[in-house]
Every structure is written in structure tokens, then in C-alpha cells.
Symmetry: C2
Subunit: 267 residues, 2 copies
Amino acid sequence: MLDSYRLDEKKKVSLKDYDPEDTAGFTGKDEIEESFAKLKEELQDIQERLYASKTNGVLVLFQGMDCSGKDGVVKKVLAGLNPQGFRAESFKQPTGDEAARDFLWRAHKVTPAKGYIVSFNRSYYEDVLITRVHGRIDKETAAGRLKHIQHFEKMLADNGTTLVKIFLHISPEFQLKRINERMENPEKRWKFDPSDLQERHYWDEYMKAYEAAFKATGTKTNPWHVVPANNRWFRDYLVLKIIVSALNKLKLEYPQVAIDPLPRKEG
Amino acid sequence: MLDSYRLDEKKKVSLKDYDPEDTAGFTGKDEIEESFAKLKEELQDIQERLYASKTNGVLVLFQGMDCSGKDGVVKKVLAGLNPQGFRAESFKQPTGDEAARDFLWRAHKVTPAKGYIVSFNRSYYEDVLITRVHGRIDKETAAGRLKHIQHFEKMLADNGTTLVKIFLHISPEFQLKRINERMENPEKRWKFDPSDLQERHYWDEYMKAYEAAFKATGTKTNPWHVVPANNRWFRDYLVLKIIVSALNKLKLEYPQVAIDPLPRKEG
């Protein structure tokens, strides 16, 4: 089931081929609830083995349009992890120290140590998305940055970091509905940013920029995953399934204890 | 003159072709003293323009065998820079947080912001030198890391960092003389490390590892420089000349002030 959502061959991708309403045949939340709970337990167990073995770091990277649910998915899927081995990072417009360095600097600083899980809400991919869409960098610079990203991610992988890259795929109609909700609901209004409405005009350009990113950086080792995200319950379920599946490939084991914990006295 | 010390074409290099005693025809310190003082003034002036314009960062990276003068050259050549725009970093055996990340992590963290100069006393190159010489990584891993280094340095360059990579080239005989000085001189004895004597047995292997590094990462944009370092005065002079020449290529200018500093009242 996961194969159809994975982009791992550096070939041309058209997001039009992916339906944001897709639920892989499931018709409602009830159908996956039990499986979701089991997967969460499995993830917690994996985290313990990861922390104990300290053989790998895990970086779960979320990208998506405004209102695609990046905050929500971190809350629903990754809450419950042991916070001593997990940290959620998010990236806004770079300022000061960050803007004075190369575009990978601030992200590299907060990559996971071995034994740890870190989530990225947005990432260095913004430096080939919003910047490209608004013409702040030209086509050649964007292509150069995508190469740098691919190299950087390979370097991370070669040094023991497992990357799980997830694109939360929504439709423009779904986004508009969510923006309206934000404006109407006093408890959600703080999340409304007038620029969200502005960015909607660039939808097609964003999709093109994402497609270019998937083509350049979706590799066997560091694939992208397109997650249909118009239905939150399916979005959360699929994201969790993708993460658990990626981490199971590591075959994490508790380290062997080489010493005898209760040495007996001689004689 | 500088061309003959520059490795910028990713081709096979043999360090045997470089004489550590070479002084480019100069016969003594007196001959370059005046020129050295002028170059130091020029470097200070460049630093001011660099700091004011904030268009580039500058990373001066020193590698070399024990006793090749890495500490000395930082003191002789870079002391005198405005410390508000300059920082000297050095790298020992990675521990804790550093060892738990990829081999470029701790270096990337301390790369220069735009407007700043940073020197590296040793660097991520140790991860393809000492580790390779002692067989802690195999040939393939070393080759992979050299590729990662080349990509990383290109990424830095593409994002406005000028790298000046300098190898301080000494002979094994010169090193032995220095080690003996260290042991005999109470003021220098603290610098003596018994493992220095151990490492001497691997001299040829180190030279091979360096040659592989120069071949893989000596590019037009990020060349290596082999500095004959048996004569300290020539070593310092050549290093200073290389740095000034590299920074002059940036054509740094003070930024234009667009506002009228003393606006007159109307009427």
C-alpha cells in the first residue's frame, strides 16, 4: 500500500496524478482506529530501541501548503513519544544569524544525534519553494540548491540518519475551507495570516516547485512520500504507517549487555 | 608566484614534488619583512570592507602534520585582525554531541556568517586522514566522505563563503627536530604528546591520504594550497599572501550610503 505514495526514482512527478481526497479504500475513521492505536504503540517501542542502541538518528520532515496540517500531524502522530528522545523543530523566515549563513546551516545544526528523533515543520525546502515562486532566486540557483539538498541528505544518510520526507497534499478548495474556518472561529483566528490568502494565487507555481523538488531529491535512500491530506484521519494514519515502516527497516535491537549484571563471589 | 602552490584541478598530486625547504628564491626573513608588514595592513583593510559590506564569509582552513605550525601561523598571520569580525576555531577528537552526528556537523555549525572571517585549525579533513590511516574507515567510506566534503564546500561557496585551504608541508626530519625541541624546552614541553612520536610511523600513509584529499577536493573554486613550511618566516609570508590574494578577488567595497546623513530642513 505504501509503495503508491512513495517517490524514490528521481523521475518526473505530476501532483495532478495524486488525489488529495484519496483514502486508499477506507471509508472512515472507525476502520483504521484500532490499527492506528497499534501503530502508535509500535512507534513508541521503536523509539525505545532507537534510544538504547544509538545506531541511527531519525529526521521526519514535513512540507505542505498552508493549512495542509503540518502542525496537526506532529500533534496527532508524534505526541506520545518520549520527549527525552524526541524534539519538534519548525522553521520560519530566516533572520539574523540564519540569514547570514548558507541555506542549510540552521537545519544542519538541529539534525538528530544518534538515538534521537527530530521532526521538521517546514525545512530547507522552503529555500527552493517560496523563494523560487516569488522569483527571489532564478531557475539555475534553484536547480543548484536542489543538488545541494540531494548531496546533503545523502551525506546525512551515509552517516546514520534516516530521513522520512512527507508532503501533505491538499486541494486548493480544502485550503480555502480551512482559511474560512480560521477566520470564523475565535479559537483558531490567531492562526490566520492574511498572506495565506495572497499565496493562494501562486498555487500552480508552488505545485511546479514541489514537483521539481521531488524529481531532484526523491531517491531510493531518501524518498519523498505524497500523503493525501484532505481527510485528516487518513492523513494521520498514512503518515504514522510511513514512519513506522521506514524505522522497521532499521531492524533496531536492544544492545547486548556484555557484562554479568550480578557477578557472584568466588569460593 | 602563487600559482605554483595552488592545487585546483582535481588531478593526481605527489607531495614529493613539493620541497618543504622551498622559499621561492628568498634567502632570509629580511627580504620579505617589509612586504609582510604591508600585506598585514592590507588584510586589516580587507577585513573592514568585508565586515562593512557583509557580502561574503571567509573560512581559512589549516591542515598539516603535527608540528607543521598550524597554531603558529594563526598567531603570526591572523593576530591583528579585529576580533569582532574574526574567530579562531580548532578541532580535536570528536566527543559526545559531535561524535553522535555526521562528520560535517560540528564544522558547519561554526562556519562564518557574512562579514566574518573564521580560521579552522584542523577540520573535517581529519575524518579522511587519521581515521583512514588507522583503518577506522575503509577506502570506500573515505572516498564517499571526500565527495561529501567536495559537495559541502561547493555549497558553502555557492552561498557566499570563500574558502582558503592551506596545507602546511614539512619534512619528517623537521618534525623530529621540533618534537625534540618540545621535549627539551620547559616552556614548550606542554605541547609534547607521546602519540606524536607514534604517528610518525605512518608518515607515508598520511601523505597518501592527503594526496587523495587534494585530488578529490582541490577545485577551481575551492583550491588547496601546499605551503612549504620548514622555514617559518617563508611559511607565514606565503600564507598571508595566499589569503590576501584570495580576498582581493572578492573586490570588496564599502556599501553605498543611500540616505543623506545630514538632511536639511526645508524652507
